[in-house]
Symmetry: C2
Subunit: 348 residues, 2 copies
């Protein structure tokens, strides 16, 4: 009977079917969240539009987050779906200013998956969890018929305790804030895509997948007033900056020459027809801090191995929902828009 | 390089591929957990082998759990994958003696899924969350290529605050404890399977999917000394009893005549060749309580609508890892074993 209550549903979005691009982290993903999910689940935590929710429980502020991983192939240079499922989720906690503590994992396995592949992935998850300092305390496994899955999907959820004194959310970003990037861009996406496309490079590009609480903790311990943090996964730097600009209602000015990209990644991106600013990373983030603390924040990040390549790349400007503008190496300026489509399906 | 550290891995289980039965909640599922997952993630919370983990955080005891949902079809009499994804996870929290508070949801959508189906499911999840008194505070959506998924998979994780004074785990079960069942068995499995097999009954059987914190809270508030709780999902009553008997190292004696099964479910099970004791439920649980409190516990449960059909069905006996024995209606006794294979694939 319940289903008949839907006789007068909310208007459907323009697309009547789910497209690959709805999962790409771009405009269509945003639309899906806004039109389908937010109206039904609206609450202040979800409305904050951050990587995780921060909830009060007893005397503590807890961060809680989840991500599903559908990367193809399951194993790639520098990692596998298991590392991603650990690092991706602990990094979302870190982006809330929270120390990651506990993980859950739900496995959806396709009938016929070699047991050895499962074991390789599970061993990698164990190593990744130890490296990130979290305990995987609860899990579930389901198996679907051959042809109804794709080897293995993993969904992890994580709990952390917020150690940041102030709220680390897009709304805390201030005009004038410096935009800091924690290292060079694009190696995760290039590593995955090069296997998928059968490309071989002289020096193979390895995924940057890594846990990011250590550099965040270093900033907080040094008393840096961190306004917002965001890891640069699906959709890369460009999408992350646009999401924050749009959630905060501000513009940004980014200097392309200040954004580190290795020659190997730049070369691979040229061959693959990709823009490194849109390519997914699994061990990189941006931090928004007051202009006056930017120099010190970069120094602190550079002292931590995973963010040794940190650099200041731009600033926030006071324009209500203004665009993210990129000043290119040759001096021109262009809008760094959000992708509407899907550049790299199933990259994480 | 990391992968080469696997040169001397732990011995592989007897099966070299994942089978559907590895997801069935029976012996093979148990083997997968013991051989692949536990060695890598061993910690006290996972070793407790309960429906969720209980962790201390600040001054509180939190319950944390996850489940993936792959039910086919997505919509069935009495519910859909969205209700299941809410109730299944809040019920795992309730089975830890915890009040469910927050949920996360990870969606894995197959390209081409009708947007209307997604909206129906999301609206049902919203209703289910309100009924269960939980807030869905964080989520993620991924899309996989057509033919690499099956419409929609949902993985939810949940956080609750433990309100039970003592630990509700298999290890707390005592010889002599009464085994209480919260209501009639089998309607979820029969509802799903009848759609899948195209069967029509005069009175269609509807899934029992429902949130279970209310009856658990009633037991706790009345001061009933609850030793263990377990909801009866994959593998049904028989598997739940076997899991607890094996984790506790005890035997059980169950009276078949005391186990409520409706005529509709019994008839459908006969047609489908199923044993109701092994069929999945999504709104039923067993409680293990001291013999002296059993009568009062049943009364308390009967006063709550979702457990109005509660009955005492047997007792725990002091036999180290003894079997679960069922005394049939005609007086014979048989071992109620765990299924090794898969009775009902993709039932939740």
């Amino acid at each position: 009977m319940k289903k008949f209550e839907l006789a007068c549903p909310a208007p459907l979005p323009a697309w009547d079917q789910v497209l690959l691009a709805h999962g790409g982290g771009g405009k269509l993903s945003q639309q899906l969240v806004e039109k389908i999910f937010l109206p039904e689940f609206l609450n202040p935590e979800l409305a904050a539009r951050h990587d995780g929710a921060v909830v009060r429980l007893g005397g503590s502020r807890l961060a809680f987050t989840t991500d599903s991983y559908v990367v193809r192939p399951l194993i790639f240079p520098g990692g596998c779906i298991g590392d991603l499922a650990v690092y991706g989720t602990v990094n979302d906690l870190a982006m809330c200013g929270a120390r990651p503590l506990y993980l859950s994992a739900g496995f959806i396995l396709e009938e016929g998956l070699p047991m050895e592949t499962l074991q390789t992935v599970v061993v990698s998850m164990g190593e990744a969890a130890r490296r990130a300092g979290v305990a995987l305390v609860t899990g579930d496994t389901k198996v679907v018929d051959k042809g109804k899955g794709d080897g293995m999907f993993i969904t992890t959820a994580g709990i952390g305790v917020v150690e940041a004194p102030a709220e680390i959310v897009p709304a805390s970003v201030q005009p004038g804030d410096a935009v800091i990037l924690s290292g060079d861009l694009g190696s995760h996406g290039v590593a995955v895509l090069s296997v998928r496309e059968g490309l071989e490079f002289d020096a193979p590009v390895r995924s940057d997948a890594a846990p990011l609480w250590e550099p965040v903790e270093a900033l907080l311990k040094a008393g840096i007033e961190v306004h917002c943090l965001r890891d640069l996964t699906r959709g890369g730097l460009a999408s992350a900056l646009n999401e924050i600009a749009s959630a905060r209602g501000a513009g940004m000015r980014i200097e392309e020459a200040a954004v580190p990209v290795t020659d190997a990644v730049r070369g691979a991106c040229e061959i693959l027809g990709l823009d490194p600013l849109y390519v997914a990373n699994e061990g990189r983030f941006t931090a928004f801090v007051p202009e006056s603390q930017a120099g010190r924040a970069v120094e602190i990040l550079r002292a931590v191995p995973v963010s040794a390549g940190a650099a200041r790349i731009g600033r926030v400007v006071a324009e209500c929902s203004g665009p993210v503008l990129l000043r290119s190496r040759i001096g021109g300026t262009r809008v760094l828009d959000m992708l509407s489509g899907e550049q790299l399906p199933r990259i994480c």
